[in-house]
């Protein structure tokens, strides 16, 4: 999967998320079929589900929280299952959670199998404005820098305050200020380094050849999504 052209992977990811988001709030059975793409991505991309869930641990609770109040708002009974009433709110809650979960998984598959440079290259190919692509790239770089700085500051603090549990609330203001200032300094150095190596506001990414499989891949998936979305396949 890593060898596929990034444009194909980006298109599949975007089309998948749009398709998933477009399902009706009660279309749970069709939505379950859309799991075929994440399952394929994790198997063929040789990705670890455990590691994937660990990396997405911050965003997944938010996704699960979406629609949690639906059962209280929509009490219209759609059907009885083993004598238990299944309300519209319950179905729409699960649908919303699945939509969020699938979208996060699709984005994870894209990120795990494609480098940021390749994603940005693909974005440029579909004519996303240059400024936006550069901003995405720089944000990606600077997140790393900020993470490193935060780690250094936290380590230095812990080593000199071993008896404390975490960082004392009185120190937060100073530390955050220091963190931002140091991150800005480092970001400036990186930017200077880029300027000194001929950076003129645009990343030059080498063109990649499009192999037949890279064309078949998005076409096949987009067709599958259309078939599932149109309701031609219904397992329930």
């Amino acid at each position: 999967m890593n060898r596929l052209h990034p444009l194909g992977k980006l298109l599949v990811c975007v089309f998948y998320i749009v398709t998933v988001a477009s399902f009706h709030k009660y279309a749970l059975s069709q939505l379950i079929l859309m799991a075929v793409y994440p399952v394929f991505g994790f198997i063929v991309g040789e990705l670890s589900l455990k590691e994937g869930l660990y990396r997405m641990r911050l965003i997944l609770p938010l996704v699960v929280f979406v629609g949690i109040f639906n059962p209280f708002l929509d009490r219209n009974v759609l059907q009885y299952s083993f004598g238990i009433p299944i309300t519209g709110g319950m179905v729409s809650m699960v649908t919303l959670m699945l939509k969020g979960f699938y979208s996060v998984l699709a984005a994870y598959i894209l990120i795990a199998t494609t480098s940021i440079d390749e994603i940005c290259y693909a974005l440029r190919l579909i004519h996303v404005p240059r400024v936006m692509v550069i901003v995405i790239m720089l944000i990606y770089r600077y997140f790393g820098l900020m993470g490193n700085e935060a780690n250094r500051i936290a380590t230095a603090y812990k080593l000199r305050a071993p008896s404390q549990n975490g960082i004392h609330y009185k120190a937060w203001g100073t530390l955050v200020g220091q963190w931002l200032l140091r991150s800005i300094d480092r970001a400036e150095m990186v930017y200077e380094s880029m300027l000194l190596r001929g950076f003129k506001g645009d990343y030059v990414i080498p063109r990649r050849k499009v192999k037949p499989v890279s064309m078949i891949y998005p076409i096949a998936w987009i067709l599958i999504f259309i078939v599932i979305r149109s309701g031609l396949i219904n397992i329930f």
Binding site: D117, R141, V190, R197
Partner: protein
């Protein structure tokens, strides 16, 4: 890019610079440098060594005096030309490496100068071979050791084939083996080299000419052996003899 320019590559005349009014960092500096020279810039902390280097690459433009790199006056209009001639190896190699893998990072400069992919590939391979880390080309930059990062940072500059290479404290944080390796590599590079360092033994091993700065002025400019063996001169300006001469 290597232009094959011979003779005078750097010309500094009556150069003065201050970050803020009244705080003069460089004061009437005069200095010439020629092709293939290797020059050590020494001085105590905070006397303007790094500032001088940054002026040369056009990171600060509000200076007074004459500052020419490869025949181009350092000003906004000429920045692209100047930066094609000059490569700067930062003190902090981490700031220099910002792409995912070493080969991507080394290729960043040549690609920005519009070279073909074949030429970029050739430059990357040659630069990595010169610093003896060709086998690391696919390695993620964040996984490198301090010594490897320094060598990779030098490779990013060598790939641009500059006429002038500026290095800010290149020996800092290197273990003895990496330091020795770096000395060998630097002595193999034929471009004009300007090396700022507090490691005077390193300067002795890599530079035939040394410039001593203090209070924003050039105090001495001459043969490295003479300057670095002058205890009185060094101690009078916040430095000490190299360890091997003590």
């Amino acid at each position: 890019m290597h232009t094959g320019i011979h003779g005078e590559l750097l010309k500094i005349e009556h150069l003065s610079f201050s970050y803020e009014k009244g705080q003069q960092v460089l004061n009437d500096v005069n200095f010439m440098a020629h092709d293939k020279e290797s020059i050590g810039i020494i001085g105590a902390n905070g006397i303007g060594k790094s500032t001088l280097m940054k002026l040369l690459v056009g990171l600060y433009l509000n200076y007074d005096g004459v500052l020419e790199v490869a025949g181009h006056q350092v000003n906004k209009k000429n920045l692209n030309h100047i930066r094609e001639h000059i490569g700067y190896v930062f003190q902090d190699s981490e700031a220099q490496l910002f792409l995912s893998t070493i080969e991507d990072d080394v290729a960043f400069g040549p690609r920005n100068y519009g070279l073909s992919e074949e030429e970029v590939e050739k430059r990357v391979t040659e630069a990595l071979e010169k610093v003896h880390i060709l086998e690391l080309r696919k390695k993620q930059t964040y996984k490198l050791s301090g010594g490897e990062k320094k060598l990779a940072a030098i490779a990013t500059i060598l790939a641009m084939e500059p006429d002038i290479i500026i290095m800010d404290e290149p020996s800092i944080a290197l273990d003895p083996r990496n330091r020795k390796n770096l000395i060998t590599i630097l002595n193999e590079i034929s471009s004009l080299k300007l090396i700022t360092s507090h490691d005077l033994d390193f300067i002795m091993d890599t530079c035939e000419r040394t410039v001593l700065l203090d209070e924003g002025r050039i105090i001495a400019d001459g043969a490295t052996k003479e300057i670095l063996s002058d205890r009185e001169l060094l101690e009078g300006h916040g430095l000490e003899l190299p360890l091997r001469l003590q």
